[in-house]
Subunit: 106 residues, 4 copies
């Protein structure tokens, strides 16, 4: 993984350790939290038309909410991967390889 991503992972781990949150951070709980945060991101969009959904960053408050939820989703994804020893970038790269075989360019 990149140095920047490694740095974020370390900061998240230090943050949780300093607050003694590790016992709560089972893979199951982190998967639930990831799912909850993804739903909170979706909540911002649930009543918008497709067109309105493309313009959410034009409003400063909504833009901040969107970035905040993106941060939460990424935080739990990284902590989930840390808990199980998964490299998310390697997992995605392998998946794109497989998809390129499964769905050949038309």
């Amino acid at each position: 993984m990149s140095e920047e991503l490694q740095g974020l992972r370390r900061r998240l781990a230090d943050f949780a350790a300093a607050r003694h949150w590790e016992p709560y951070h089972t893979p199951k709980n982190l998967a639930a939290a990831l799912s909850v945060e993804s739903a909170e991101l979706l909540e911002i969009f649930q009543w918008l038309t497709p067109e309105e959904s493309s313009r959410v960053m034009a409003d400063a408050d909504t833009a901040h909410r969107v970035e905040d939820e993106v941060a939460d989703v990424l935080a739990y994804l990284l902590q989930f991967c840390e808990a199980l020893g998964i490299d998310p970038l390697a997992a995605l790269s392998a998946k794109i390889d497989r998809n390129e075989e499964r769905f050949p360019k038309p």
Copy 2:
């Protein structure tokens, strides 16, 4: 963002473009897909005890399913961010900064 992450983002964009999927990739649809994939990751864990959830990588088939869902979550997160011009690493870094102020070390 790191070069590795940029590379993945580019591969995802090329993959979608080659199949003419862009019209489907509104921020709203991508947020829904992100939420659906996160729930599919959670599905693997829903009936497990906390202890069992820590051992999922010991079984090769389950490990593969977990990595596959992690890849899907990251793929939709990156595509969502691409669609709205968000840097997810910067968003997470800013969020950790805020959290360190909000929840001071005990």
Copy 3:
């Protein structure tokens, strides 16, 4: 469907109509809202042990939050079914019939 359930469905429809919310209540949006509310219910449980999760109703505030989210989930489920002309009780009854064939009693 039972009279009580029909009455709730009518109250929900009247409530939405009086506020001119129908244009927002596409099946897609209602499915998203149902998913978001289910995640909000899950959020109450995400860091609890299995044992703690069985005792949530002992605390009056948490009990109220749980009942409130249950109400939201049921409200969107009923409105979703109304939008598509689905009888949820008939759908569940048919599903239990199928499951009794698929998973015979051990």
Copy 4:
């Protein structure tokens, strides 16, 4: 609750008991399963336009998938409520009362 709903609740309880599934049916696990099934319902709609989403019942296969997921959502909602002694219809009725006060008719 209505007799029909009570009957479904009893069938679900018998089904789970006959297969010794009760230990898995903690409120936390049932909330996770409810959330997962709601996301599976959303999955059917994730790439559809609002207009297409209104026409899903015109295709027999899709209609069956939608009804099947509705049944799963209702099944887990009822089992969740059973586990915690919640009457979902009373919860929804109380919530509509509160909402009618909070959001007066325009």
